[in-house]
């Protein structure tokens, strides 16, 4: 038990270091984004107005000073004030994060259901027409740019068939197309990985043992194989999920989805440092937390962890 707590503590410290590293890097590179004052001021403002505005935003201080202020504030849970929206960054993130989370969850659920499902079906009947179909489908999934998939889906399902709304966030129907678009790539990855992992698992001696014990095939696949594969699958899925959270920018733009990805890119384009920093820090915290959660879940799923030399 002692070891387990130490392990957890170690992971926590690693996570904190990771978040801190991200904050430093992001702070440094946001420096390179265009001058926020120019971006925020209208054409009519004079040079003097611009300087005054710069001072008002505290941008006349040195980078080091600003980082110290920023970091001290972050430690107190204050991510600063958005230049553009004039609201606290944390409130903005809190406002927009649910949309992205909803989208990412829907996308990963889609990817898991279709990806794991098709992966299993392909592995059970390898080298059949079914397997080949899905190989093509998933390789296509990996070969089509997201924004292209999104526009095609809108053209077909919204404009031609009028089944689903083109864009926006209004109820379940509006979630379908963005979720498929966002989950497209991950579905392909998960499907391929599930197939290969399951095929490898099916070849193992202990699965042969299960067959020799007279286990029905559904038990073999869904109990014996899946439980064994779960840690691997979880790792793949969690990595995909994080990619989805961070990669929602394009999907959100296409579908006018009011999420954090669009906020991020707008803020980066618009020189809204505090929002960029805030979102990145929050994203990295989430990323690290998901990893931590996966580690912990695996700890319970795979009895071997913690006993390895």
């Amino acid at each position: 038990m002692n070891d387990r707590w130490r392990y957890l503590l170690e992971r926590l410290i690693q996570a904190a270091v990771c978040v801190w590293g991200v904050s430093v890097i992001i702070f440094c590179i946001t420096h390179f984004i265009g001058d926020p004052v120019q971006l925020l001021m209208p054409a009519e403002a004079s040079q003097a107005d611009r300087l005054a505005y710069q001072q008002a935003l505290g941008l006349d201080k040195s980078a080091f000073e600003r980082y110290i202020i920023f970091f001290a504030n972050v430690l107190q849970g204050d991510l600063g004030q958005s230049y553009r929206f004039n609201t606290p960054v944390l409130a903005l993130i809190w406002d927009k994060f649910p949309a992205t989370f909803e989208l990412a969850v829907a996308a990963i659920v889609f990817a898991i259901i279709v990806g794991v499902g098709s992966g299993i079906l392909c592995a059970i009947r390898p080298n059949t027409w079914w397997d080949h179909c899905f190989e093509w489908l998933s390789l296509s999934g990996m070969a089509a740019p997201t924004f292209w998939v999104g526009i095609m889906l809108i053209m077909f399902f919204s404009v031609e068939l009028r089944w689903l709304p083109t864009s926006g966030r209004s109820g379940l129907a509006s979630l379908v197309l963005p979720a498929i678009t966002l989950g497209w790539y991950s579905t392909a990855v998960i499907s391929r990985m599930t197939r290969s992992t399951l095929l490898e698992t099916l070849e193992t001696d202990f699965i042969k043992t299960s067959v020799l014990k007279g286990a029905p095939s559904h038990i073999i696949i869904f109990k014996h194989c899946l439980k064994f594969m779960l840690p691997t699958l979880l790792t793949i899925i969690s990595l995909q999920f994080v990619t989805l959270l961070a990669g929602a920018v394009i999907t959100e733009t296409i579908f006018s989805w009011p999420g954090i990805g669009r906020l991020l890119i707008q803020s980066a384009y618009g020189g809204d440092y505090p929002v960029v920093q805030g979102i990145t820090v929050v994203c990295s915290i989430i990323f690290v937390l998901i990893q931590l959660a996966v580690d912990v879940v695996q700890f319970f799923l795979d009895p071997r962890i913690g006993h390895r030399q």
């Binding site: 390898p126 080298n127 070849e203 193992t204 001696d205 202990f206 699965i207 042969k208 043992t209 299960s210 067959v211 020799l212 014990k213 007279g214 286990a215 029905p216 038990i219 014996h224 439980k227 064994f228 799923l301 795979d302 009895p303 071997r304 006993h307």
Partner: protein
Amino acid sequence: MQTLLSVANLQTHFETPQGVVQAVNDVSFQLKKGEILGIVGESGSGKSVMAQSLMRVVPESNLSKISGEVYFNGIDLMTLSPKQMQNVRGSSIAMVTQNPSTSLNPVFTVQDQLLETLKFHPQQKFKNPKERMLQLMTEVQLPSPELIAKRYPFQLSGGMKQRISIAMALMCEPELLIADEPTTALDVTIQAQILELIKNIRNTHGTSIIFITHDLGVVAQLCDTVGVMYAGQLVEYNTVEEIFKHPRHPYTQALLASNPVFGKKQTSLKAMKGQPPQLTQLGAGCAFADRCEQALPLCHHTKTDLIRLENHYHHRCSIPTLSGLPSL
């Protein structure tokens, strides 16, 4: 004694890019209740595939076909539906595999895996699964079964794992136990214990056992009858005494000669020359002809005869004089 298993003309072929692999080629034998049959042969001779064919668990991916008759208690297993066959596996016929460190699922406890077997076969007679499990674990000489039952396989030693595998195979009290090189991966001391255990099982339960091994010593120690496999064929099948005293097939003779225990003491051990043939390139003649010191020209291109002896015993060789016994 009553015949439990009767195998006739069992064939298992695979299709591969290199051609058809005749992994098991026209194998026939009979097994009585309570009998231990040893199957010996080099690696790649088709022993394991033969065992898997009996249970119809040959990897399906590139299987061409299994043919022949496998009568078990009077029923031809080859005619059963997959569902019926699944029911036979683990209950009437059970198998213990070679490598105990990989044959148990690492993410389930010992108990889960043992009790599961009973769940798959609801027709079995054990009303108290837990009790049955503990009883068997005691029988396979596992210390403190209660404790071990809650462990995961990686927490156990190789010998313990193999005992658990055996216990698992015995859960439904099968009539036939196929042990596929169960001792190969174990230390010598553990090997002996496991062999003892298997003998005990036969003695107490009357279970018939097919024991697959490449170790002639083990065969001599354990078995009642022996089948020698070479290139997918059962080249010689006879009682253990006959095999060791009067090996009829040149391959059996060569095998014995190359073994430190059975090889003639006065001369040095004779390593067999050459390699086993590619199973895709079996010609018309005897598969062993190229390595056979006694081969005649006709051996290379004529089909070998099956020379039948009493009690279904037989051997395959076209050099009849060597056998010293009249062919039927």
